[in-house]
């Protein structure tokens, strides 16, 4: 009896202590998620990697077996043995729920299994409905409507709401997978957005379509890519691959000679050349800039700096 109480108390303590530690560490990790990346930021990666679904997405996109493959399997094993290994023991929310409202039933289901007289059984809080009601025509139509609505998700909002010509392909972080793979793999955690030192990476808005919603996009006018190569390091899914600085090709810059100050007004502006990280802008004798598309990496430094109201130089996605 005494031993059982001791175990119970220990269990209660650890069930509170572990999630609390995870909360504190996660907050620290989020705060450290900036350039240069602190070591504790890796913790968030490990937490994400516990998810077996993420493993599937990762393997599918990279076609390689990651060295953390043991982690999701371990979690599954623990869940099979202990039950709710993540939700009950690691997830900050679960742990706090356990503590915070001690009076409420957590629906853990232990009492059901423990009761040797099987006196406890599950029941819905609502009035139970008969099996016949559930298969009513009304419910069938409801379900049908719900499925039809969900299928619309595959269409981007602009495709439904605005003419197709307004749909602009977006600039993805350096090392991002091809667009369709990227959309399938990215889990919209926004860590790359948080780590981006220039603030150029932003989550896409709802108006860009529900599929692209919250995926990271580079807006050079907000901030160019400075090639810090931190976004792949925080990406848990493999949607942003590790590439070398030399391999970066986010897009390609296009110059509008109609509005460029050097071309249209003969001014020795050349701010784009000054900022170019790739040495991709050459000038002629008249101090007019030319973009070498081969060398351009699409970092957007030129677009970011262009003093013309609507930038005379713009980065467009590479496959356009």
């Amino acid at each position: 009896m005494k031993g059982k109480r001791f175990v119970n108390r220990q269990l209660q303590f650890w069930r509170f202590a572990i999630p609390s530690t995870v909360v504190v560490l996660s907050v620290c990790a989020v705060l450290e998620m900036k350039y240069p990346l602190g070591r504790i930021a890796d913790l968030l990666l490990w937490i994400s990697w516990m998810d077996p679904l993420l493993l599937i997405a990762h393997v599918r996109s990279t076609l390689a077996i990651p060295d953390w493959i043991w982690l999701p399997f371990l979690m599954m094993l623990l869940t099979a043995i202990l039950g709710r290994a993540f939700c009950g023991w690691l997830c900050p929310m679960g742990g706090l729920l356990n503590r915070g409202s001690g009076e409420e039933c957590l629906v853990c289901g232990r009492c059901v299994t423990v009761c040797y007289r099987q006196a406890i059984h599950w029941t819905s809080q609502r009035q139970s409905v008969g099996a016949g009601d559930r298969r009513s025509r009304r419910n069938f139509l409801k379900l049908g409507a719900a499925i039809a609505t969900c299928s619309l998700i595959n269409l981007s909002a602009p495709r439904i709401l605005v003419p197709i010509s307004f749909v602009v392909p977006s600039l993805r972080p350096p090392g991002a997978l091809p667009e369709s793979d990227f959309l399938a793999t990215c889990n919209r955690c926004s860590r790359c957005v948080k780590v981006c030192p220039t603030g150029g990476l932003v989550p896409m808005s709802f108006s860009s379509g529900i599929i692209a919603y919250e995926t990271p996009e580079l807006i050079p006018r907000k901030g160019a890519c400075d090639l810090c190569m931190q976004c792949f390091r925080v990406c848990p899914t493999g949607a942003i691959r590790q590439i070398k600085v030399k391999e970066v090709k986010i897009g390609v810059a296009r110059l509008d000679e109609q509005t460029c100050l050097a071309w249209a007004q003969g001014k020795a502006c050349l701010i784009c050349k000054e900022r170019c990280l790739a040495d991709a802008i050459t000038i002629d004798d008249g101090k007019r800039p030319y973009i070498q598309s081969q060398k351009c990496i699409g970092c957007g430094a030129c677009e970011n700096a262009c003093p013309v109201e609507e930038a005379a130089v713009k980065v467009v996605p590479k496959d356009e």
Binding site: L227, L261, C269, L270, K273, E274, C276, C306, P307
Partner: protein, 316 residues
């Protein structure tokens, strides 16, 4: 919790959130001295500098940057000529690029470190090393080696990449009528300009005058209008107490960001007349004064004297 309680809590929380930020911003502004009370932009320390130092152009030659800084400042009459006890010193190197010190496009960190140390030894209350960088601040501070050098010497290196770092001033130029100028510089008692000498495609040379574009917010305006004219007018608004030109090495083509061919001059040039220092630098780059019109304009509007040969040249 019933509805009444919920509404009460929400109201209190709303009121608290309205007042709390105010508290924080107040405490912040008390740290920053009120810039209206500060000296006029023309800067008084210049007048305190001995006339001997004012008519001097010191050229320190050698390979070790630390020694060059020491020799040069000694030949200028010591840092005490410029920095008095209790002064706030603003130092403006060029650390705008992430290419690193070897690329010859940013100021040598081994020059900046000893300068910061000397300022502190002369009794400076605070030494701020600042730049408005092209690339993101953290990366530039790291890659250029400036942060490591400055922090090691006891100063503070940071970027002024946010609009809040600037105050609107009347530059009263022909084109540059108003500018958002660095508050860190406006507040400082002593302003030391320490550019690297390099070639620059839009302006021919990047040295002292061009380096001052790193203490204004809207550089696009300069490029939009007339670079040479606006650079000269910006220089006329506030002249640095001392200009130290890092001509140890720099790129001679494809500037100002490079990569470009690097030339080693193994010199550091010291002077209180920024135009003279730049004119000397233009000579090192093989440019004639007529090639660099911002220097000519600056001379015309009285920023300084481009005829550096008329100064008292001290080679150490």
């Amino acid at each position: 919790m019933n509805r009444r309680d919920f509404i009460k809590v929400a109201t209190y929380a709303g009121l608290a959130s309205a007042f709390l930020p105010g508290c924080f911003s107040q405490s912040k502004s008390s740290v920053l001295p009120n810039q209206n009370q500060k000296n006029s932009p023309q800067g008084n320390p210049n007048s305190e500098v001995a006339s001997q130092a004012r008519s001097r152009l010191v050229v320190a030659e050698g390979t070790d940057p630390g020694t060059l800084m020491e020799k040069g400042l000694a030949a200028m009459g010591g840092i005490g000529q410029f920095v008095k006890s209790g002064n706030i010193v603003a130092i403006k190197p060029n650390f705008s690029s992430t290419r690193g010190p070897d690329a010859g496009v940013t100021t040598n960190p081994i020059l900046v470190g000893p300068l910061v140390r000397q300022c502190l030894q002369a009794g400076a209350k605070e030494v701020r090393v600042i730049d408005h960088t092209f690339s993101s601040g953290e990366m530039c501070l790291e890659a250029s080696g400036i942060r490591a050098a400055v922090t090691g010497a006891g100063g503070r290196a940071y970027t002024i990449n946010s609009r809040t770092n600037y105050s609107a001033v009347n530059a009263n130029g022909e084109i540059l009528k108003q500018a958002d100028y660095s508050r860190d510089v406006l507040e400082a008692d002593v302003f030391i300009n320490i550019p690297i000498l390099k070639q620059s495609d839009p302006t021919g040379i990047s040295a002292g005058l061009k380096n001052l574009m790193g203490v204004v917010w809207d550089r696009g305006f300069f490029h939009q209008t007339d670079l040479h004219q606006t650079i000269a007018e910006l220089a006329a608004f506030k002249k640095p107490t001392l200009t130290i030109l890092d001509a140890i090495k720099g790129i001679t083509a494809n500037g100002p960001s490079g990569p470009g061919p690097i030339k080693e001059w193994k010199q550091v040039v010291f002077g209180t007349d920024m135009v003279a220092v730049d004119a000397y630098g233009a000579g090192l780059l093989g440019l004639k004064l007529t090639d660099v019109s911002h220097l000519a304009i600056a001379a015309k509007i009285g920023v300084g004297n481009p005829d550096w040969r008329s100064l008292d040249i001290v080679r150490v």
